[in-house]
Symmetry: C2
Amino acid sequence: MSTLEEHLSEDVAVILVIIGIVDGKPHVLLVHRSATPQEGKFALPGGKWKRTESLESSALQKLVQETGIENLYLEQLFTTTGLDQNTPSIAVAYFALADSNSVQLRNEEEWRPGWFAVESLPELAFDNNLVIAQAMSRIGAKLQYSNIAYSLLPDEFTLRQLQDVYEAIDTQPIDRRNFRKKMLASGLIEATGKIRRDGAHRPAQLYRFTSREAILI
Amino acid sequence: MSTLEEHLSEDVAVILVIIGIVDGKPHVLLVHRSATPQEGKFALPGGKWKRTESLESSALQKLVQETGIENLYLEQLFTTTGLDQNTPSIAVAYFALADSNSVQLRNEEEWRPGWFAVESLPELAFDNNLVIAQAMSRIGAKLQYSNIAYSLLPDEFTLRQLQDVYEAIDTQPIDRRNFRKKMLASGLIEATGKIRRDGAHRPAQLYRFTSREAILI
DNA sequence: TCAAAAGTGTTCTATCTACACCCATGT
DNA sequence: ACATGGGTGTAGATAGAACACTTTTGA
């Protein structure tokens, strides 16, 4: 890569808001900045856009690198300027949804990636707090009229797990009976026929999403 | 500006989907490309991002240049790569809504800007047809739960004019009585007390938007 | 037998849809 | 007087919200 191209590639960054549910609450994957600028702060994972590929490819590649998973829901959020006041640059933000139990965090001394509860984040580098807030807002809206929750859960799940995801994002309780009716009537999920025993109570039926591609309803 | 900076600035473009209603149908403002690449085709107006300002400022400046209006609704759509296969670059697309009767088109021989009906567009430069389709989809959705229609109309308007806007975007007829009830109940508009006479029929009351800032409902 | 979560139906309420007639004006 | 678009109310259908008891299991 020529010196010119190296310089050029610093102009455009891709950053990722990777959301997962941990302990029933939405968490975001953050890394620790060990280099300037904003050294010592936590920040969203990201990288430079490689001019030889599309933005989407760059984001997807970073997503796989951070989570070890291939088929997560990934959507562009927006593009901002001025991450860093000193060097004019633009950052294209994406958000992704992941089943946190399936994610394999990178174990790197330099970055120390980890899950952080969205409701109690520290002050992050750049405008990352704002970017995360926007992502949560978009996810909340989109949960209501799409099946993107598929990306927050394992292939098979109980209706209670599904409801937990909705309640974690909406942060308000949902009536169990109405939720079941609505989800089943939507056609987005179907029973697998299997049941799961996990405690001193009636076993729960397992469901799956009828499609694991994003669908608007 | 140094040679390096000139080169850098070519990497990021801002393009605008400016939508207005002409003859009861949605139209988009296009310009004629008189230079390579894609010479001779029509395209969305746009320009290079100036690294000394924010993306939003660049878009707004271009918007004023094309329409002569300051306070239009402007929203970022998304960012794409590969407008031109040869030189890797990214384009940040915005859409704006304008009262076409208030717009003063630039009268430039080189660009020849004009309004084109969205439903019968020619093949445009780059992926502009796709960008416009996405903009229309977003506008259609947003009309339902916001007041962005304010930007498509003059300050004072009749309920019929407002309904025409909605029908032009949705491309399906709406019941007049239900529409009036819903709009008035929403609180987004209020009567001005004035009436407008324009023909051999009962005069219509004029309304205004209670707010000319974007509001979600 | 007890605790804990799963499963299930009905009533009420609010919202959306469909629909027809009179009113004010200019010609 | 007539043609044109503005203005109004009601009834039926649909979707969402509220709400309590029985079932199955493990300890």
